[in-house]
């Protein structure tokens, strides 16, 4: 489903070249729940940005859902993100001026669904994360955990092929983090592929598979967790 071969990403300033990813190789299968760990500055976020088509890469080969995404232009990448990728951000990234209903509506409008279909998807996904009764609330009226649930509902509303989660529990306390993690596990069980970047080794252990990124390379690939093996 996701195949990266020798992906390199070089950030070039006027006099400094920074290699964020070097010969990065990874294969993610449909239904995987992959955790990506590693120290700060190791290249985790760059990997996530490239995997989510938020950034382009310098060299290598990247197939996503069977498509060579390196050949897509900016509009093509936007469409691909909208149709096939769901994003969950560390800071939730909800739009403060919009209520929960409208926040979940945002990607659906880009997709071009009609009002009836959008309403159905919004209600269904807010129901799924347990916030259907609060759809007219503003994000500021919710706890961090609830906001992240809304972000998950927004990510799921377009029926993406996989979810990319960037430190999804990074801004949450332990209880809320557990709740969000349980929700992601449930989503994965229902068939959605998840790639999660996290600092939290305990949470990483709960995913089916963990890789560690160090100096822009996968240093410990395809390490299946005990839980997944069991």
């Amino acid at each position: 489903m996701l195949t990266m071969k020798n992906i390199c990403k070089v950030f070039q300033t006027s006099d400094v070249q920074t290699h964020a990813l070097r010969d990065f190789n990874l294969n993610v299968n449909e239904g995987d729940f992959l955790s990506v760990t590693g120290p700060s500055g190791s290249g985790k976020t760059t990997f996530l940005n490239i995997a989510g088509l938020l950034e382009t890469y310098t060299s290598g080969e990247f197939l996503l859902d069977g498509e060579d995404v390196g050949k897509l232009n900016d509009n093509g990448r936007s469409r691909f993100r909208n149709e096939k990728i769901g994003f969950i951000f560390q800071g939730f990234n909800l739009i403060a001026d919009l209520n929960l209903f409208d926040n979940v509506d945002v990607p659906l409008r880009y997709r071009g669904f009609n009002a009836k279909e959008r309403k159905r998807r919004i209600e269904e996904n807010l129901e799924r994360v347990g916030l259907a009764s609060r759809m007219k609330h503003l994000p500021s009226q919710l706890s961090g955990g609830q906001q992240q649930r809304v972000a998950i509902a927004r990510a799921l509303a377009t029926d993406p092929r996989f979810l990319l989660a960037d430190e999804p529990t990074g801004n949450l306390d332990t209880d809320m983090a557990q709740g969000v993690m349980s929700l992601l596990e449930e989503i994965n069980r229902q068939g959605t592929t998840i790639i999660m970047v996290t600092h939290d080794s305990e949470l990483a252990q709960r995913s089916g598979r963990t890789i560690q990124v160090k100096d822009g390379r996968v240093s410990e690939a395809a390490a299946f967790n005990q839980k997944a093996i069991a």
Binding site: T45, D74, G91
Partner: protein
């Protein structure tokens, strides 16, 4: 999908900035449309025809200082000499110049009596050459004959028996049928009768701002005055060549007077409407400046809004918005702000115009001018937001994952 609902709901939660810009747009619209209305009103005034030939005419002042000067003989000698000059079509002595700002006026009435209201009329004292010299269009009746021309002496109060009036004056004197004025007797100085022997199409009064500027009368008088004006019409294209020729001829032919204040009718028109032109320029500057300030205000608000929402824009891009969709978001948002401003502006525009019309007796502005204001401000708004919107569209979707 235009996201109109989302944009409106988001705007409703951040009203102050948007409302201030909307009010600025409203103020701009109010001032812009009414200023253009005033400019148009002045331009219409300036575009009115004086009724005389302005391209080939000029005038000068003949001031006599010699004692024992025979004014009547001197005047005839001068006019004969000027009329005989090759290239001159005709010449007259005249007491006032159209549009010059200085002249004579009197009330004309259809019935004698001090208790009757007179119609204010500009009086031009001229001889039988006036229609040709001024190049007026006689649309009914006849010109004066040489025997009609009398001398107007200093302190004289009697008026001649004949008069030629403009069509506008005929319509004012006889509202039911202006053409019926021909042959009728009108009264000047309350009870002195004058028979209307001719009607000319148009001859403006000396005062351009006067509501009765089209009401004029030609009276068959030559003035025995030590200071008089000669009005000269030349063949087309020969005015500038003949001005110094005639000045020098008159000055050299008689050393008992001086010739001064040569001026063309084109200069007179320019001077007459100089204030109008200046006011129009000032109004245009105000309108342009205000529009520019509003445009800068829109740019400023949009840039501020974009800087404040960089992460949000990155998130929208990450969620699948194309660059065009991001750009369109800000353009639609600006359109809504402009729409509110323009709606308030229309109310302000009509209210201010209503006050102007009542205060200064102007014609109310037309729908087309309001439509022009609406279209202009929508275009200005969209152009102003174009650069910030493009800037927003270039925000990377990777901004969404940045923590700072």
């Amino acid at each position: 999908m235009l996201e109109s609902g989302l944009i409106i709901r988001a705007l409703m939660r951040n009203k102050i900035g948007a409302l201030l810009i909307a009010l600025q747009i409203a103020l701009t619209m109010t001032i812009m449309v009414n200023a253009i209305f005033m400019i148009q009103d002045r331009q219409q005034q300036m575009a009115r025809e004086s009724g005389i030939n302005e391209e080939d005419t000029f005038y000068l002042t003949n001031t006599i200082f010699a004692q024992d000067y025979n004014i009547q003989v001197g005047l005839q000698t001068d006019l004969n000499a000027i009329r005989k000059t090759p290239g001159v079509v005709d010449a007259i002595q005249i007491n006032a110049i159209p549009l010059s700002g200085g002249g004579w006026s009197s009330g004309l009435q259809t019935e004698p009596g001090e208790d009757k209201d007179g119609i204010g009329t500009a009086i031009y004292m001229v001889d039988d050459h006036a229609i040709n010299a001024l190049d007026l269009e006689l649309i009914a009746g006849t010109n004066f004959s040489p025997s009609d021309i009398g001398w107007r002496l200093p302190a004289q109060s009697a008026w001649p028996a004949k008069v030629i009036i403009t069509q506008a004056l005929a319509n004012s004197l006889f509202p039911d049928n202006g053409q019926s004025a021909l042959g009728k007797t009108v009264y000047i100085s309350n009870n002195q009768p004058m028979q209307v022997i001719g009607i000319i199409k148009n001859l403006q009064a000396p005062w351009n701002g006067w509501s009765g500027v089209e009401r004029s009368a030609l009276v068959p008088f030559q003035m025995e005055s030590r200071s008089g004006r000669y009005f000269i019409r030349t063949e087309p294209g020969r005015r500038d060549e003949l001005m110094p020729v005639i000045e020098s001829m008159l000055a050299n032919s008689d050393k008992g007077r001086i010739i001064r204040r040569l001026s063309t009718m084109e200069e007179t028109r320019e001077q007459s409407y100089r204030q109008h032109n200046a006011t129009n320029k000032i109004l245009m500057t105000v309108v342009s400046t205000l529009t520019l300030i509003t445009a800068f205000g829109i740019v400023g608000l949009a840039i501020f809004s974009i800087n404040r929402r960089t992460k949000q824009i990155g998130t929208r891009r990450a969620l699948g918005a194309t660059r065009w969709q991001v750009m369109r978001y800000f353009m639609v948002e600006n359109f809504f702000i402009s729409a509110v401003g323009i709606t308030i502006g229309i109310i302000g525009t009509v209210s201010l115009n209503y006050w102007l019309v009542n205060k200064f007796n102007m014609t109310p502005l037309g729908f087309e001018l309001i439509a022009l204001g609406v279209v202009t401000l929508v275009i200005v708004g969209q152009l102003a937001v174009l650069y910030p919107a493009r800037k927003a569209a270039l925000i990377s979707p990777a901004t969404a994952t940045r923590t700072v």
